[in-house]
């Protein structure tokens, strides 16, 4: 073993285990962060391929490349993979693991071994989810929402898929638990809550949702499994159950879950913008508190997914009102981000470009969320491709672009090398164009009534489906530009300095890539995190 005093990057460090085992048995939060990145990139690729298959199938009315049963399986598995395996663990597990300890001046998360276990749980859950594709019963065909009573009756492998979701939920809970304790216990001396950078703030808010909302869906899925196995009738009306209750329980988790996805994404954007404007963030406190506000109020708006389910009128207006209230803190963040650009010194590099695209796409996704949240328009667009467009804009356009932004922002820190800046910008632009072509038409046909989860459609919707397919292909090309550039950068890129973007948060004070122990001595914090002179 080498001497401690010498700088050894976490990438080169040789512990007890060598080679690949040094990675998969590692408890180092940085190595785990990379492991999460590779796993999630793989899942994302699988999910994306399924997404494109759907687009090809929908290119013409009637059968194009697959049968209806196959299509139903594809959108279910696409949804399950994307939601439970990509976007919920995505940002917090990858960048949260890698940068949360660095940003608050800690040497690791509070429970490193639990952290390693969590990765394994995620992998186990993902294997189950993917296995559900290949079992004899055929892929689950319920949609990622698993609505009863169909899910209690269909002959496909719903049990495996729900078990997978349950296991993945467990991983999510443990990540949240680990982060909350880390933030409470391991902040560097002198760092108060309001001295923390805003990405940790966002993770903190999201972690509470992970911790408190996930168990509800966990127990719901277990009830569903038991219902199938033993004919216990909680949700199946034939046995006395109540299918609407299933929807309540499902959305009690799954609405807050959308904030698990977007809060860390907003956190990334909040880091990127001040760095590339060389300006302290505008409205630090407002942004920090709005994260908590979104998390708190977000718990009580779940019913907006159920306006047409026959809920009582009182519930409909209550949920609608709260849905609108929860939009305000998001708006506050957007205003503060843009205010931060005012009189900055803006350097238009890939991370910042992605952040700008994020803001644009997030406004579209968010404001179409407002349309969905208003009861009367919701009646028109509920369960149509308008909803599909809304959530792709806000998940993929929001969380996805924020992920890419973070990836380009922290890449030099993670790998100690630089990618080609020009190619990165081109990748971003191609993705942006493809993205809008792919999803914008879906808003229009959604308002005209094209239902979602439709294998086939009436000819009047054909034009939009064609544009979407073209967009999907452009998007796909964009991805190869982006990923290719990054992979090349990681292997052969120029050596990156410790602080390539002139950032002010703690992760930029250590060498790139960071040493095993992060900090030689505990940093002492006296001032606010975005202190540009």
């Amino acid at each position: 073993m080498r001497k401690e005093t010498k700088y050894v990057s976490y990438l080169d460090y040789e512990g007890q285990y060598k080679g690949i085992f040094g990675w998969i048995f590692s408890t180092d939060h940085k190595r785990l962060g990379l492991l999460y990145l590779y796993a999630i990139a793989l899942f994302f690729f699988v999910g994306a391929i399924l997404g494109l298959t759907m687009r090809v199938e929908l290119a013409t009315p009637g059968e194009t490349i697959m049968k209806a049963q196959a299509y139903n399986g594809v959108f279910t598995v696409h949804g399950v993979i994307m939601i439970f395996m990509v976007v919920i663990p995505g940002l917090s597990a990858v960048f949260g693991n890698f940068f949360l300890p660095l940003m608050i001046g800690a040497k690791d998360v509070a429970f490193p071994k639990l952290n390693r276990l969590t990765w394994w749980i995620l992998i186990a859950g993902s294997i189950l989810a993917i296995a559900s594709q290949f079992l004899r019963e055929g892929p689950p065909d319920t949609g990622w929402t698993f609505y009863a009573p169909y899910s209690t009756k269909t002959g496909t492998s719903v049990i495996i898929a729900t078990t997978a979701a349950f296991v993945l939920g467990f991983a999510s809970i443990l990540t949240g638990l680990n982060f909350i304790v880390t933030i409470h216990r391991l902040r560097a001396p002198g760092m108060k809550f309001f001295n923390m950078p805003l990405f940790p703030w966002a993770l903190y808010a999201a972690s509470w949702i992970q911790l408190l909302a996930t168990p509800v869906v966990g127990i719901t899925l277990v009830m569903l499994i038991f219902e199938r196995l033993f004919g216990i009738g909680f949700f199946n009306p034939d046995l006395g159950g109540d299918p609407i209750l299933f929807q309540h329980l499902f959305w009690i988790y799954s609405h807050p879950a959308v904030y698990i996805m977007i809060l860390p994404a907003m956190g990334v954007i909040t880091e990127v913008i001040p760095t590339f404007c060389q300006r302290r963030i505008y409205g630090y406190k407002a942004i920090a508190i709005s994260s908590l506000a979104i998390a708190a109020v977000g718990f009580f708006v779940w019913g907006h997914h159920m306006y047409t389910s026959g809920m009582s009128e009182q519930a409909r207006w209550f949920f609608s009102l709260l849905t609108f209230i929860v939009a305000v803190p998001s708006a506050i963040k957007v205003f503060n981000w843009i205010a931060t650009m005012y009189r900055g010194s803006i350097n238009l590099q890939a991370p910042f470009l992605y952040a700008l695209f994020f803001i644009f796409l997030f406004i579209i996704g968010g404001t179409t969320g407002l349309i969905l949240g208003a009861v009367a328009p919701n009646v028109q667009v509920h369960d149509t491709s308008f909803v599909v467009a809304h959530f792709h804009y806000i998940i993929f356009g929001g969380m996805g672009f924020a992920f890419f932004s973070g990836l380009h922002y922290w890449f030099p820190k993670m790998y100690g090398r630089m990618y080609n800046l020009k190619a990165a910008n081109w990748g971003a632009i191609i993705l942006f164009i493809g993205f809008n072509l792919l999803y914008f038409p879906q808003f229009i046909i959604g308002y005209q009534g094209m239902p979602r989860r439709y294998y086939d459609y009436l000819p009047q919707f054909q034009w939009a489906q064609t544009i979407s397919l073209i967009g999907g292909i452009i998007l796909f090309i964009g991805f190869f530009v982006m990923v290719g550039n990054l992979v090349r950068g990681a292997k052969k890129g120029a050596i990156a300095p410790a602080n390539p973007w002139n950032g002010t948060t703690l992760e930029w004070t250590v060498p790139s890539p960071p040493p095993v122990e992060n900090f030689d001595e505990d940093p002492i914090i006296k001032s606010d995190p975005y202190d540009y002179k």
Binding site: V216, I252, S312, Q314, A315
Partner: protein, 94 residues
């Protein structure tokens, strides 16, 4: 991050709390066997609430924990109560 010293709960306190818990257990059984109509659930839940409070405060030492932890525990119960109440906005008015 100073570690505050652990409070040690005396045996006697534990004993007293146990007896009080017994008492409340018998009280619920007695009260729910007389017919109070809709009130019964409320009373039974109130008593269970008191028992739960005692277990949390003394057996689980919450009384001597930091304010932060107390707030967090309270928050979880409030969250659950709100979720139930809000779900009933649907069921009660159908």
């Amino acid at each position: 991050m100073s570690e505050h010293t652990h409070h040690i709960t005396p045996y006697k306190t534990l004993g007293i709390i146990l007896v009080v818990l017994f008492f409340f257990t018998f009280l619920t059984i007695e009260i729910t066997s007389i017919h109070l109509g809709a009130l019964t659930v409320t009373v039974a839940l109130l008593i269970a609430g008191v028992k739960g409070f005692l277990v949390l405060s003394y057996f689980m030492h919450l009384k001597h924990e930091s304010l932060l932890l107390k707030i967090l525990v309270a928050m979880v119960f409030v969250l659950f109560a709100l979720i139930v109440l809000i779900t009933f906005i649907d069921y009660a008015f159908r």
